[in-house]
Symmetry: C2
Subunit: 334 residues, 2 copies
């Protein structure tokens, strides 16, 4: 089954390839008459233009890419990612743009991946898991690949950016905990070179006025457990812990319990990112839902605009909502 090409359609309609192309794209005026003939031929032959030929001719891949340098395990346990992708897709679908996903093991592979992308595979990229002073930003700038940064990026940059306000929910949670009588409030952050971890940790430090009870985790359950153990072993242990994601919070909760502490009576716990199961735990986990789908939609729209040549701009998606649940309920003794 040799596939039908635009030449077949042209022959069928009794016109040239150029006419077929113009009739369909509308780039040149074509009489309604021949336009109808072309459409009929397209229909009859069930023709679909070859994406690779079109990409070569137009220098447009009609695809955007997400390159992830994460460990497969981390991807699997991340509640942000799938929802974000779903949001991205909902926008891309409108323009028949495909989403290219690439997971790479190391920086070398990542550079190669981006290089290949720029050469006919994708028209733009979304940058996730931003680090402070991320090497990819100047690299992609160099490559000239339209890019949207997801997360805050403080260096000056030519790229569009989707940010959220992570400081406000942190302050809200701390305010509530204080109102409930907590004075020793700790924070277990994600890796501090991730911009979002850092933003949360800095909001915590600023509000509390000290880093004494700040510990750096890495978003895994194991680190949630270890850091929690450290904090609870302190002579003057915290009565509340704010975690930078739900996985660590739940691991912490389960450790605290194993030490005979009741949550929230002896220890208040809050997560971040609101995993879909968190509301169903017992105690239900206080967390911050951040509508990853909305951020995905915003990022996709910005990227589309960038590719079409619009000025880069920063969009703040105001989506963080604190859900206070049982795990931070005021203890009866307070």
């Amino acid at each position: 089954m040799s596939r039908t090409t635009i030449a077949d359609v042209a022959r069928e309609a009794g016109v040239t390839k150029a006419t077929v192309s113009h009739a369909l794209s509308g780039n040149r005026p074509i009489s309604d008459d021949t336009k109808a003939k072309v459409l009929a031929a397209v229909e009859k032959l069930n023709w679909v233009p070859s994406q690779s030929a079109r990409a070569l001719a137009t220098q447009r891949a009609n695809a955007v890419a997400v390159v992830l340098a994460r460990d497969p395990d981390v991807i699997a346990n991340d509640s942000f990612f799938p929802a974000f992708i779903a949001g991205v897709e909902s926008v891309l679908a409108e323009t028949e743009t495909a989403l290219l996903l690439q997971v790479v093991p190391d920086r070398d592979a990542e550079e190669r991946a981006y290089r290949t992308l720029t050469h006919g595979r994708a028209d733009g990229a979304l940058l996730l898991d931003l680090r402070t002073d991320d090497w990819r930003v100047p690299f992609l700038d160099d490559l000239g690949l339209p890019t949207v940064l997801v997360g805050a990026y403080d260096e000056p940059t030519e790229f569009s950016c989707v940010r959220t306000d992570d400081a406000t929910p942190v302050r809200e949670i701390i305010a509530q905990l204080r109102a409930d009588g907590h004075e020793r409030i700790a924070h277990i952050s994600g890796p501090l070179d991730y911009v979002h971890s850092k933003a949360r940790a800095e909001a915590y430090s600023a509000e509390i006025g000290s880093d004494e009870l700040l510990r750096e985790g890495d978003f895994t359950a194991a680190s949630g457990r270890t850091r929690t153990a450290e904090l609870l072993a302190l002579p003057d242990r915290p009565t509340a812990i704010l975690y930078s994601n739900d996985t660590m919070a739940i691991a912490g909760l389960s450790y605290a319990r194993s030490q005979g502490l009741a949550v929230p009576r002896d220890l208040a716990i809050s997560g971040f990112d609101d995993d879909h199961l968190s509301a169903h735990l017992s105690p239900a986990l206080t967390s911050v839902s951040s509508d990853p789908a909305a951020r995905g939609r915003a990022a996709a729209r910005l990227l589309r605009a960038d590719i079409l040549g619009a000025q880069p701009r920063t969009e703040i998606v105001d989506c963080n909502i604190v859900h206070f649940r049982e795990s931070t309920a005021p203890s009866a003794s307070a």
Copy 2:
């Protein structure tokens, strides 16, 4: 910055385009001497071949696709999908194959997506969320697109297939529950036109010998709650419920509790698919881990073989492990 092409490399190395191509692909013998010159030129100019040009010339997109017709919400709450994708990627990365992800709203868009894919966008596809008598199977067969089915598919098919044995873990759980003294064991399934839901439900029915306590859910928390409520309202209510995924199980657990039932004392509960948080719930949820990453790897390998023209074959990934946890612990009263 007009990108460098193979012609630039050829000029730099003092040879023709053809020689560059052969030197790199090894399709024709090229002297070590010129090969070295070519490589030096490639290095110097930092040349990366254009994927679109290559795709057009070779009729190979070097990409495979996953088209999802799911609701974005469902994607966001699915623990299977990200891990599966991660597994797929780990295999594709070896051959610089990209993964194309497309989320479509309806069947029309899905057909169009597949048509476009076959025309220069992708070399093959992975089919998820298989239904009994799925229209996509004959459709893709017609299109001639190499495809791997993920999940059982009972109709005769020319496609490769990655299956799992879902019946055994269901039987194991039921056996354990019976050993713990349960006699009224219910099952809340996923939509029964999904092959994996159906396989689980059929294993349940066969083992129990009756459909009296079988209810059809749809994998959402809401359905888990509703169906649980129905079962618990029965005059002779079940003392154990087997859910077809963890989300429904947790929703059911939380409903049962709201009705004053203790888990596992008054009601034993088991999930399926082992969400990463399930082990951390309290009570920790008995579930079946199914290693989605392993299935992703198997599917990607089969697809790669298919694209290269291998005979289609079915691979059974034996990955289902039942994790018995507190939610099905034998009640003290038993």
